[in-house]
């Protein structure tokens, strides 16, 4: 009983049959006595089809008009879902981002939400109707133009509305059963996590786990809005993400007598490359000069490792990782300043992978790092770089080592399940 926000992604509303299935789920929540607000993405590949139309007209379409075009997608899916709910005998009213009060800045294509004023949504709910809101879109505060929120936009819309409406939970429906201890495509014995914390989820999302976008988790953390990630293709519970593990288990309503596990999971990421600057003069400002150059090229970097100078050489090596797509840009920028930096050589390797062990428990349990490195050594995996946060340890390894490194670490930390169901229904792990 309460107010529930549900978000359905493009694969959940890909055709009329799936839209009807979503309608049944929405009506189920309504008939259980909840007020229900639903956020939808565009149907299946329809956004790509609209982008293709735009490309037929212009290589670089004006951002304002691209937003106007793309927001047609959610308009279609939300109206169809409202019709499907009406077929089941319940009233539903659909609202654009603008009508729903999703106020953003004016950065077309990746606008940020700056306020949510859901007066019309509240009115629809008060009238007993299901409110359906277009995800991914808003209206700019200054110019009143239609904006889109960029990657992860619909998830963020859902969390923002849930916070503004004071919902008890924001349910995010996807094509997998929740967040797993590792990618089930790699680790057959990976387990679904019934509960986890915002901080752990942020580390997992930032380090390769794709089930939730970083941005939506950040928003949920700021407003302490519990997220329940679950499958739209089953009735099984998924993963509840909240401020603490205790709070998350309360919201999930799954029976649980366990203490919070030390380790939540093992994430991996094959999308990065590594640049190594060999023989960087060990002088004040050298690193600053290098990373200013990379930043000016518009490249975001991830891990940075610098060793102490080898005795007597006055030179050191600096390595950093970055998205593979940005590799050529960063290389070109750095090669342009070799004369000023005095670097001997620049190396680039895109055949790497990153393995991250994430767990709030490692704050208070010594020996986690030692066990992690030991498991990798036993598996014969060479470590190229290491970085840590308070609740995460990451290593860079050769790309070919990723799969058995993840499996070995998963086993070493006793994460393997013995629950047959979890294995069978593990889903795709996305």
């Amino acid at each position: 009983m309460g107010l529930v926000v549900q978000k359905y992604g493009g694969s959940s509303v890909a055709d009329a049959g799936r839209i009807r299935a979503v309608a049944e789920r929405v009506v189920g929540a309504r008939e259980a006595g909840n007020e229900v607000c639903v956020v939808v993405s565009a149907m299946g590949d329809s956004t790509d089809e609209l982008l293709d139309l735009a490309q037929q007209i212009s290589d670089v379409p004006p951002a304002r008009e691209l937003d106007m075009l793309l927001t047609a997608g959610e308009r279609i899916s939300m109206a169809l879902l409202a019709m499907a709910i009406a077929e089941l005998g319940h009233e539903a009213r659909s609202f654009t981002g603008s009508q729903a009060g999703v106020i953003t800045d004016s950065v077309h294509g990746k606008a940020r939400i700056i306020d949510v004023t859901p007066g019309r949504i509240r009115g629809a709910l008060n009238a007993g109707a299901v409110a359906i809101v277009a995800g991914f879109q808003g209206v700019s505060q200054d110019t009143k133009d239609v904006t889109t929120l960029g990657r992860g936009g619909s998830d963020t819309t859902a969390v923002a509305l849930a916070a503004a409406l004071g919902a008890s939970v924001c349910e995010i429906y996807t094509d997998v059963d929740g967040v797993f201890t590792a990618d089930p495509r790699i680790v057959a014995a990976a387990r679904r996590l019934p509960a986890t914390t915002y901080d752990e989820m942020l580390e997992m999302a930032a380090n390769g786990a794709k089930v939730l976008h970083l941005r939506c988790v950040e928003y949920a953390k700021r407003y302490e809005m519990p997220i329940h990630v679950r499958s739209s293709f089953s009735q099984r519970p998924g993963t509840v993400v909240a401020s603490t593990w205790r709070r998350a288990t309360e919201v999930s309503e799954e029976e649980s007598t366990m203490e919070q596990p030390i380790i939540s999971g093992v994430a991996h990421d094959r999308s990065e490359g590594k640049i190594t600057l060999v023989g960087v003069p060990d002088v004040v400002g050298a690193a600053a000069r290098i990373f200013e150059t990379v930043a000016e090229a518009g490249v975001n970097i991830d891990m940075i490792v610098q060793n102490v100078s080898a005795a007597g050489t006055g030179r050191t090596d600096i390595s950093f990782t970055l998205p593979q797509a940005d590799g050529p840009t960063a290389l070109a920028a750095l090669q342009g300043i070799t004369a000023q930096t005095g670097v001997d050589n620049i190396e680039y390797n895109d055949q790497i992978g990153k393995i991250s062990l994430v767990g709030a428990g490692m704050r208070t349990h010594p020996g986690v790092s030692a066990k992690f490195f030991g498991a990798l050594a036993d598996a014969g995996v060479n470590i190229e770089m290491i970085s840590t946060s308070e609740i995460r340890i990451s290593v860079v390894v050769q790309a070919g080592d990723v799969d058995h490194a993840v499996t070995a670490v998963h086993t070493a930390f006793d994460l393997d399940t013995t629950d047959i169901e979890a294995v069978v229904y593990g889903g795709t792990g996305r």
Copy 2:
């Protein structure tokens, strides 16, 4: 020089290539020194595709949600047109009906425009941009919901915006060269009318000519906004419709030394059926009872003919015409009251056609009716019903007689062209 509103229909923006062609025409008008506001329909068959999606979900979708769905179509075409104009180096900004200030009542699916507040359009034009507006849609004054205007909605949007902005002309682009003296598919020698009046255009539209919707012409007449109907596939002038023939020829800028012709054209309509009530008792209230019954069934009727009673019988026959689609409904309603009306028999004939001669000149030129009936008699066409307005004479004939009746009348009133170009480029006459 001035402010021009241009409206392009679905066939004019059916794909990327046609959208680029429209963009070139818009930019041409802009570079000629005009402020340009463009109203667009949805691309080609896209509205039908959206309707098909809705039908997959619901046989009777809620009207509010159907409007939300269908308005996605213009959003797509207008954003793409804005991109195509930007590709040609001009700024263009697209606006939904709501953003453009098209305020309507709350009758979803066939809303009526009650106000136009084009502040944002004026702002875009002042900034030197081309303003592009979604046709066919508005926002309801009371509920702020998205509405659609129904049949002819985009033409009406264009005329309403032109009036609100104080445009010098509203150009309606279609797939034919303008309004013709008859349907060129029937009369090869039909001529394009360079100019005509609202009143004549209303009579032609109401009697089968399909090039402009009645509703848009009514709106133009009320605000005295000249309409220029022309082809989006050629640069030829079309037909200007204005309050007087003199005013229309001024706007058209075509050289013309002619006086206003007595007859504008010959319209025909094969979409009606005829119901005859045989032996209606000649008592007070009989006709009222009959037509109240038809009206309560939701059927609009067109012509009504009642003869005087045959001497001594105390009974008469009443015939009326109505859309063929409404024939069965009207018949069933009338058969339900035969006991009360005392009618002997009810006959229905859907194998009829209506021929209408339209011309403002017939007000002041006697003998038009005689010449019309004479031409039909010479062609061996039997007249079943006759009705007249101040500037129109209509007859109902057998369906099989329509083609040669139209041709005979067209020739009799000297409407046949000797201009080869007009014959060759006559288009489809729609």
